[in-house]
């Protein structure tokens, strides 16, 4: 479909409806980020930005992050606004299909997990578990542009 993009993560290739995801997030970004009052902590970028990661670890950390967003973020982001909820579920559906595609590649051992990505993902989980679930999920959703910028 229009706006689909093939992203390469090591030996793995994932087709992503990036324009659709970006448009969905842009529509709710201000609303979601306004629900996150904590400026001193970032789930994805604390203490180090994703951009500092070794490129060989991109595939593994992306695999982990797709699972993280599907299993720990989207389901805890219900709001009182049905428009926002619709946008969130549309993004969640896109992530679900990307999770499956990258998961298949991971199972074929083409998505090697090095120490650096394992430690980085441990840090992301620690940042997430340092907050209550709803706050952590809302903050993670508010950082989706950080993830998308890095993936691209």
């Amino acid at each position: 479909t229009a706006g689909n993009k093939i992203l390469h993560f090591g030996a793995c290739r994932v087709s992503m409806s990036m324009t659709e995801i970006r448009a969905g997030f842009t529509a709710i970004k201000a609303n979601i980020q306004a629900r996150d009052p904590i400026r001193t902590l970032s789930i994805l970028s604390y203490p180090h930005s994703l951009h500092k990661l070794n490129s060989s670890d991109r595939c593994c950390i992306t695999h982990h992050l797709f699972n993280f967003y599907v299993d720990k973020v989207f389901k805890h982001c219900k709001t009182e606004d049905s428009y926002v909820n619709r946008k969130i579920s549309s993004i969640a559906n896109s992530f679900l299909s990307m999770k499956r595609k990258l998961g298949q590649c991971h199972e074929q051992n083409q998505c090697v997990c090095g120490q650096e990505s394992s430690e980085k993902f441990k840090q992301i989980l620690a940042n997430y578990e340092g907050l209550n679930v709803t706050s952590a999920a809302m903050k993670s959703l508010g950082e989706l542009d950080i993830l998308l910028d890095w993936m691209e």
Partner: protein, 214 residues
């Protein structure tokens, strides 16, 4: 004993206005205040959270403050905040929404240069450069920041008013099979598919094709 202090209404509409990653904080004066209001500005990097004062924007009476230097790392996101002072009274700090330079900037149109033969136009397009601290600093084209950057080019035959549109990733375009001794006008814009960014169209560059050589 009760503490008596008068508070000033807050600055309004505090936001970043960014073009080619020249990131300037803008705001409107508190409602009902004329001249004489002074402002202070601070900013913070999201995830770090420590507020940092901007000395060059301390006690200023204008309603903007250039934070391009402080927000030049486009892998980070930022907040900025403004406080108003007048005759011993002061407002609250009023914050922006979270600012992501990569997705929240606007892009200028491309530079367009056109040359012609008797039956074709050659068009060269140049994407704008990212803001830089000084002329000596190395230039970074926005093409490097946005790999998905494309150009939409419009070519108008002034005589027949027929218009063509082209969408190209390359920065050069040759338009063949045109009419000799005819005026054509070219304009172009930048389109980034993701993140979603579109410049306006450039002004029109008009040129005539040459006399027919045949």
């Amino acid at each position: 004993s009760g503490e008596l202090y008068c508070s000033l209404l807050n600055p309004r509409n505090v936001r970043f206005e960014s073009i080619n990653m020249k990131n300037v904080l803008h705001w409107s004066a508190p409602e009902g205040t004329g001249s004489g209001v002074l402002y202070r500005v601070k900013y913070s990097v999201y995830g770090v959270g420590k507020w940092i004062r901007k000395p060059e924007c301390r006690n200023i009476n204008r309603t903007w403050c250039d934070l391009s230097s402080e927000t030049s790392d486009y892998e980070d996101q930022y907040y900025a905040s403004v406080k108003a002072f007048l005759n011993g009274m002061f407002s609250d700090w009023v914050e922006t929404t979270r600012f992501n330079p990569l997705t929240d900037t606007k892009i200028d149109p491309p530079m367009v240069s056109v040359s012609s033969t008797d039956r074709s136009l050659s068009i060269i397009l140049t994407a704008p450069e990212k803001w830089k601290r000084s002329p000596e600093e190395e230039s970074v084209s926005l093409l490097q920041l946005y790999p998905g950057l494309q150009y939409n080019v419009s070519v108008l035959n002034k005589k027949t008013k027929k218009r063509w549109f082209f969408s190209i990733s390359n920065h050069t375009l040759v338009v063949p099979r045109l009419e000799p001794e005819t005026a054509y006008c070219v304009s172009a814009r930048i389109h980034v598919t993701t993140p979603i960014l579109d410049s306006g169209f450039s002004k029109e560059y008009c040129i005539a094709t040459l006399k027919d050589k045949a």
